[in-house]
């Protein structure tokens, strides 16, 4: 197999797959390299009801369609791999995968997306799936008539807190600030629910248990006072962080480690573009990722055309 492509897209979420569709349809040879499962954050959504043209679809199904669409136009997709090194500054970009396979291209689109933010408290890893969850629709029914905590103060946290009252006997929302970031109607719905209590200006500092989670230590961020609370489960919804760890020192990032791009999705490195949840932007939706992927693909396509023109001129001389 030829390991050189016009464009390599890193990431197969909504932005990466859209870029793959646009580029391959324009006959630009394209490889998508993806570290996780195809679909990215999209597959974490049970139901998408605001994607124009599609009344209702699961994130998994939408991702599957996008993948098939890209492959139909000739896009090569390799997933569940590990990118072990990247050389992006040269004209020919080089990406090493799994410490052995090397792929090269003339342009790269970074669409690495984001991942759920973790609290980072003692015991968080240990009790994942044994009391700690990041998905209410997946694991809510394990907590029938149990007492649980929801951590966070954004739309997702309050929406899921209300949804979890279907199962839990009591839901306590813990938030580190004295006010919520969620839209007012989410706040009101949670406040009006008799099963929901609130602990504000506080954070979990330790998860405790033996085989499964049994209690947490909660610290008041103002007084620093720590109290222990018996609990059956904790659901964490404190936003996302961009997957840009491997890009530090290579591509220009802002203070939140998001990739800085211009309106055409161009980064500070010639031939390197970025799109989706890993870039600096305010709104992160499937629709905005799709739009970013489109713009990045069109910009990369233009770059490739110029690149080839330049190359043919050099060869003619």
């Amino acid at each position: 197999m030829n390991n050189h492509f016009d464009v390599i897209v890193i990431g197969a979420g909504a932005a990466g797959l859209t870029a793959g569709i646009y580029l391959s349809r324009a006959k630009v040879s394209t490889l998508i390299l993806n570290e996780g499962a195809v679909g990215g954050q999209m597959v974490l959504t049970h139901e998408i009801a605001n994607y124009p043209g599609v009344e209702n679809i699961s994130g998994y199904e939408l991702a599957r369609i996008m993948k098939t669409q890209a492959q139909k136009f000739g896009c090569v997709i390799k997933s569940n791999l590990k990118i072990t090194s990247m050389t992006l500054e040269e004209k020919t970009k080089k990406i090493e995968v799994n410490n052995k396979d090397i792929y090269t291209s003339n342009a790269v689109i970074i669409a690495t997306g984001g991942k759920s933010r973790t609290i980072g408290a003692i015991g968080e890893d240990r009790f994942k799936g044994k009391g700690i969850s990041y998905c209410a629709t997946c694991d809510g029914d394990f907590f029938q008539d149990k007492e649980i905590i929801v951590v966070g103060g954004g739309n997702s946290a309050l929406e899921e807190a209300v949804s979890l009252t279907k199962y839990a006997s009591k839901v306590t929302v813990i938030h580190q600030f004295d006010h919520f970031q969620a839209l007012q109607h989410y706040v009101e719905e949670a406040e009006n629910n008799s099963k929901i209590d609130f602990i504000m200006e506080s954070k979990i500092v330790e998860f405790i248990g033996d085989e499964k989670l049994t209690s947490v230590k909660i610290q008041n961020v103002d007084t620093q006072e720590i109290t222990e609370k018996q609990i059956d489960g904790v659901f964490i919804f404190i936003g996302y962080v961009p997957n840009t760890e491997n890009l530090e020192g290579i591509v220009e990032l802002n203070q939140w480690k998001e990739i800085i791009v211009d309106k055409n999705m161009i980064t500070n490195i010639p031939g390197v573009f970025a799109a989706g949840d890993s870039i600096q932007k305010k709104y992160r939706q499937v629709t905005t990722a799709v739009a970013d992927g489109t713009v990045a693909a069109l910009s990369a396509s233009e770059y490739i055309n110029e690149f080839k023109k330049e190359l043919s001129l050099v060869n003619a001389v």
Binding site: A37, V43, L44, H46, G129, K130, C135, C138, F143
Partner: protein
């Protein structure tokens, strides 16, 4: 039935037969949900790399899935999917919630000998 390309375990009899006929077995018991799909995908890919292991799935919400749900090794689990690894019919490892391909590979290498095509 789960929409995967894995062998589907549909009943307790299927489960017993699978363990009887295969020395090394990995079963992912879940739903078509966000924490489960990445695990199925990894298993589909690993199926070609570990030819001595039988990779299968089972729908969590079926009555017969109690053969997995009620395993003592899963008694503390509170997150989907429940993934169980068997050697000669005995549970050698069980995990709860999403696992990356690297984490699964580590478990396979630890518990089963790798025999590639």
């Amino acid at each position: 039935m789960l929409r995967t390309n894995l062998t589907h375990v549909l009943s307790k009899d299927d489960h017993a037969k699978l363990l009887q006929e295969n020395e090394n077995v990995m079963i992912c018991c879940g739903r078509m949900g966000p924490m489960c799909i990445p695990v199925y995908e990894s298993m589909e890919e690993l199926e070609n790399e570990y030819t001595n292991i039988k990779f299968a799935d089972m729908e969590f919400d079926t009555q017969d899935a109690e053969v997995i749900r009620n395993l003592p090794e899963c008694s503390s689990f509170r997150g989907l999917p429940f993934v169980v690894y068997y050697k000669n019919g005995k549970v050698v490892k069980a995990t709860s919630s999403i696992q990356s391909r690297d984490q699964i590979t580590e478990i396979l290498d630890e518990n089963f000998e790798k025999v590639s095509v």
